[in-house]
Amino acid sequence: MLRYIIKRILMLIPVLIGVSIIVFLIMRVFSPDPAPIVLGQHATQASVDAWRQANGLNDPIYLQYFNFITGAITGDLGTSYYTKAPVLKEIFSRFPATIELALLAILLASVFGILIGVISAVKKNSIFDNAGMFLALIGVSMPIFWLGILLIIFFSGTLHWLPSSGRIDPLLQPASVTGFYLIDSLISGDMYAFRDAFEHLILPASALAMYSMAIIARMTRSSMLETLQQDYIRTARAKGISEGRVIGKHALRNGLIPIVTVIGLQLGSLLGGAVLTETVFSWPGIGAYTVACILKSDFPVVQGVVLLIATVFVLVNLMVDVIYAFLDPRIKYSKKEV
């Protein structure tokens, strides 16, 4: 197992090289010149040229790439053109916000998705099933940003129940330890802050979770339907254990195996969905920031972010495979299967 994990982590390297090449090509070869944006309304041709020269943008593309890669290997992703702050710092000051949002979203999506899926499967063709599956269908069909805006209009604008933007009331901002406000506020023992952070999370996390929840619910339903047909479920029932235990301990435990894969895939797609959710909710995360940087042609930041996201994506996939092996004792990763 360990060998397998190491091998998979090593496989990150070619993926990251590939990712960096793609991003590099898109950004440096095709994207608009960042100079006019960086230099503002008084930019002249001369200052644009000087700036490009100073930032190595007049070098041949392979040399630019070489410089970037050598920097990246030593942990230096450069500085943002726009803010002149180190890229790593810019990224990591926003990354926890996205992770916190994505984790809560995947938690919501998994809990409710599995719940709906299980109920739908157990009560197949009942009103619950139909309602659940209709909800799931709407969930995969609704644009996430539209849902987000509707949530804001309803819960913030009309009912004034929940905040519409940001992560926390700045007055309650806990001292940063982990960067996750839910955890940081617990560390500092401030329940007000915890609640406030949680309230800020609800709407964006719900909007972000909707699509994944729908996918997970559908997957859970079909997986459970299949599992409930299995002989070992009959065996379990024959043991005289309660129906709840049959479903929860026997059926779900087996049905979960394909669901975990879906959850893993969804965690990856959540990172994409975060781009839109963060934009709608002014969530101070990496998604909206990246879009802003793409539009500003802030090459170093975009390169850094995409590398980071790709790494996370690959690691999540690896994690899913490991969990898979944990859930399904029949699977043993050997060198062959890599």
């Binding site: 993926v15 950004m27 069909s141 990856g268 797609s269 994409g272 781009v275 539009l295 995409v306 790709a310």
Partner: protein
């Protein structure tokens, strides 16, 4: 999940093997099952309506007949932000354009981008997947590594970067959205081909001395076509969503084309004063995506041997 796909395609291929001479019968059978699926029929009906609207709007535009209540791109600043009424069913937007006409006009864009983007990802994806699956070895490894790389970047981010680099435009949106979903098709096709490849009839074709491309196109692809059709149908729904997302971020098609996502993006500043400008495009997107999802799900069920027995 992966288990799932392989078993269904196995069964599929076994069945397909019997029909190697006339693969269309597989589609025929699919259609028969599909007709019994109410949801799929509803989906197909909506898709039909949307297509009708899109084609009518497009043709009338070509021959210069105005069929929509108003010119969707004609702005009249004196009619800015009129609430829905008998004259303007969905109201007017900031520039005084009739929302109803714009929504109908937008059907054209969304369907076109959706279908065209899928056509791109489908053709390139199928080609790459076929080559990878059929040739195997290094070619396979290389192609699939590239696909892995593309999959490692969230597709919406990739599409945004493409659009930012290429600039706005209908053609560019199609390309951006089409390119980012190539890996999905490549993977499916490769997987199916790997399972079909060893079948006797393919081996037989090889022995007879058929060329590689002939084997792929004549013998292998027809047998996985139903799988691709399902994927493509669901692909249209995600392409429509992606188009809307790009439009929402201000990166979609070149205005003044009425595009639902772009309309939503513009409406965002007026969610309290003119909420109708936000509601209708959102509903239009949802219905379109829903229709393709319903139809795609129906297709998949129709394909699934298990449900066919019922």
């Amino acid at each position: 999940m992966p288990k799932d796909i392989s078993t269904s395609s196995d069964k599929n291929s076994i069945q397909a093997a019997e029909y190697v001479e006339k693969p269309e019968s597989q589609l025929k059978e699919m259609w028969a099952t599909l007709r019994q699926n109410k949801a799929a029929v509803v989906g197909l009906f909506i898709i039909g309506m949307l297509t009708l609207i899109a084609v009518t709007v497009w043709v009338s535009e070509l021959i210069g007949v105005q069929i929509l209540p108003y010119d969707p791109n004609y702005s009249d600043m004196s009619k800015s932000f009129i609430w829905p009424n008998a004259e303007h069913w969905f109201g007017t937007d900031q520039l005084g354009r009739d929302m109803f006409s714009r929504i109908l006009d937008g059907t054209k864009i969304s369907l076109f981008v959706g279908v065209a983007a899928v056509a791109i990802s489908l053709s390139i994806g199928v080609l790459l997947g076929s080559i990878a699956g059929y040739r195997g070895g290094r070619t396979d490894a290389f192609i699939m590594r590239v696909m892995d790389v593309m999959l490692a970047i969230p597709s919406i981010l990739l599409a945004i970067a493409f659009m930012a680099a290429l600039g706005k435009g209908l053609d560019k949106a199609v390309i951006a959205i089409g390119l980012v979903s190539i890996p999905e098709y490549a993977r499916i096709v490769r997987g199916s081909i790997l399972s079909v490849k060893e079948n006797d009839y393919v081996q037989a074709a090889k022995v007879i001395g058929n060329g590689d491309s002939r084997i792929i196109f004549k013998h292998i692809l027809p047998n996985i076509i139903s799988l691709i059709v399902v994927r493509a149908t669901l692909g249209v729904s995600s392409a429509v969503l992606d188009t809307a997302a790009l439009g929402f971020l201000g990166l979609g098609v070149q205005p003044p084309f009425a595009e639902w996502g772009d309309m939503l993006g513009r409406a965002r500043g007026f969610i309290f004063t003119a909420p109708y400008t936000l509601i209708f495009p959102g509903i239009a997107i949802t219905i379109t995506v829903l229709a393709f999802n319903l139809f795609g799900d129906g297709l998949r069920d129709a394909l699934d041997p298990k449900s066919r027995i019922k």
